[in-house]
Amino acid sequence: MTQPVSPPRDSADKVPSTTEAPVWRSLVFRADVRTLSLLGVLAALIVIGGITKPDEFLDTRNLQLVLTQASVIGVVTVGMTFVITSGGIDLSVGAIVALSSVWATTVATQEYGFAGILFTAVLVGVGCGLVNGLLIAYGGMVPFIATLAMLASARGLALQITDGRTQIVTVDSILDLGERDSYVLGVPPLVMVFAVVTIIGWLVLNRTTFGRRTVAVGGNAEAARLAGIDVRRQRLYLYLLSGLCCGIAAFLLIILSGSGQNTNGNLYELDAIAAAIIGGTLLTGGRGTITGSVLGVLIFTTITNIFALNNLQSDVQQIAKGAIIVAAVLVQRRTASTT
């Protein structure tokens, strides 16, 4: 019998001790650099806010407001992060939030009270996600096109339901959740929902088979298929998940604004995509980070807040946002090319 050709045993045994530690350390280091730089940006923003408006910015109420505002778009971004990690895109998130929020606040729905509103918001979100998922996974449509169509239709339907009017919420148990009385240890309920969604999202992406399949489909769909993963079903689930997040976000928005409007969630798709991208999720799929996405959301919300406190108009905010996206991606490309 011919022996397989392999290096002598003793040299083979030395390999792990010399290579393992540095590789392991460099991986951790690289992950840290990304997160740390985002944390650094956030810290810098807080310092800028503290210097320009020391009394107003660092006020507890203001910080609560920032986090509350971040919650709605944050929940959407968690879902978006999964979709982008799988190599897809969901342009319909803002429209789904709008449709969910108005469907859940019609006079008929409000008769069923708190549970009716919550149930409807989530169901409409999941329903829209189901349509997206079926079109993309089983209808063979490109995600960009399918969700663009959903964007148009859902917004149209939201307008049809409201006829352009703001639907005021009259259910007290909903409105109470937005009041200061319901804060637990100073934390608004909306922020708690955001935190829970974030933690669950992180665990699902990093610690479960669902997360692994998401990454595999995004990294190489053909390889995932040939490895025995049901790629189509996974895609369906991902758009369902994004829809679910939109439903939850719509519910939070109803609490926050005490109403449902067909203009809700305007341009959420761009904010969510931008937050995910500056967080370090690859637009081409195969790599995603919930931590990065959440930091991205916090950075954008903080900027908006600081600009508002300093009486700068939204046009300046938009320009700053654009510059930050470009800067973040450039920095990431530099760090990526050196590793």
């Binding site: 397989p4 792990p16 290579t19 393992e20 088979t209 692994r212 990294g219 190489n220």
Partner: protein, 505 residues
Amino acid sequence: MAPEPSLLSMSGITKSFPGVRALDGVDLDVQAGEVHCLLGQNGAGKSTLIKVLAGAHHPDTGTIRWRGEDVTLRSPIAAMRLGIATIYQELDLVEHLSVAENVHLGHEPTAAGFVVRGKAARSSTAALLKRLGHPEIDPTRLVGRLSAAQQQIVSMARALSHDVRLIVMDEPSAALDPDEVDNLFRIVGDLTADGVAVVYISHRLEEIRRIGDRVTVLKDGRAVAGGLPAKSTPTREVVALMTGRNVEYVFPDRPASAPQAAAVLEVEGLAREGEFEPLDLRVRPGEIVGLAGLVGSGRSEILETIYGARRPTAGRVLVDGRALRPGSVRAAVRAGLGLAPEERKAQALLMLESVTRNVSVSSMSRFSHGGWIDRGAERGAARAATRELSLRPDNPSVPVRTLSGGNQQKAVLARWLLRGCRVLLLDEPTRGVDVGARAELYAVVRRLADEGLAVLLVSSEVPEVLGLADRVLVLREGRVVHTAPARELDEHRVLDLVMEGSPAT
């Protein structure tokens, strides 16, 4: 010979990437009109060296002299202006443009500076294609509709559309059939007769013997031998230089007696219209069955159809006597089939992920409870599977993209080993695997078979099929033309069988 300066003379070229010294003082000397072969294992620095030559990488130190003068290759365009053209292994053509548009991409013949003169581009393209021996390629055709071999011709036409003095070819024969390889060699001969130099990279030693003039061997970023005579240097010496040890094509011994167990894989009348005709075959546990045939003979299509990645138009596949749901990869995997596909990077590996995750991807349910992954158990199992195949480095947390071709293939095998698969389908298992690592891979495959796996092997390298398989099915144009025990066949007989009756070109 007159002592005129070399066409190209690179000396002391170094190039470092973070953590890696890819080139460590390489010298390369190329004369006008010669075929200079570049040999080396994966990771030896060949790709980096040709990228430096193409102007895509900038060397850290070292000098490049071109026809006796120092030059700096600032960009691919600068290299092209000097007359250096590179044909990469992964062809860089635009699929949605026509042949003529691709050939003239970036230097279109124009009127008034910007209006493309399509007719001039087409006629000069037609002339180039004729010179390359492929007048049948229509300059107006879209490149995406051409075969791989034709695309390579287009790539070459593009190189020749410049005033070229040196052409670098990176494994040009990898995707070609023997007759196409003959045409390639004829082209190379014509070019060198015109005084053009060719830097030729290949893993196939016999090709280098046929067309090479001199050989430079790279190992670990250094040129361990420069300018050896290609025809007379003994194979043993070349291989020893490349690997640092003496290795030849070594095939493991076959077991003394043929396996007697009942077939685990049975294929009955399986066919796909237009690809291959009804096929019957059986593979027993412990048996390696080889499919030999040219590119286009339906080899890969057969494997992928058995695996469920393509839906058959007739027939069925049985594992342990039970028919699989047709066209379902998941059914095949669940029944115990595993595929190591031809295009490892595109079809098998998650290049951004670690070895562990690449190995565990098909068996995640084994390390998870209610979808929750036990990462300790996953790592342990992946380590055990990669150790069993002596995958290097012995550390499954490294990214899979940092592995050599042979070790990436082992990662794919480890995936199926971990899954506990019973039938292994191997499609070109040693493509892109260097000579030294091949013998080791052969030994691994034979050992897996000895341990009771059924193996179905496809390879375009006839010696590989003959050396490794117990039984060989010879394919021609989607049909099995001969079946025999491997020991009753030889390379000539198989080549006769696969080419017999095929239209002459």
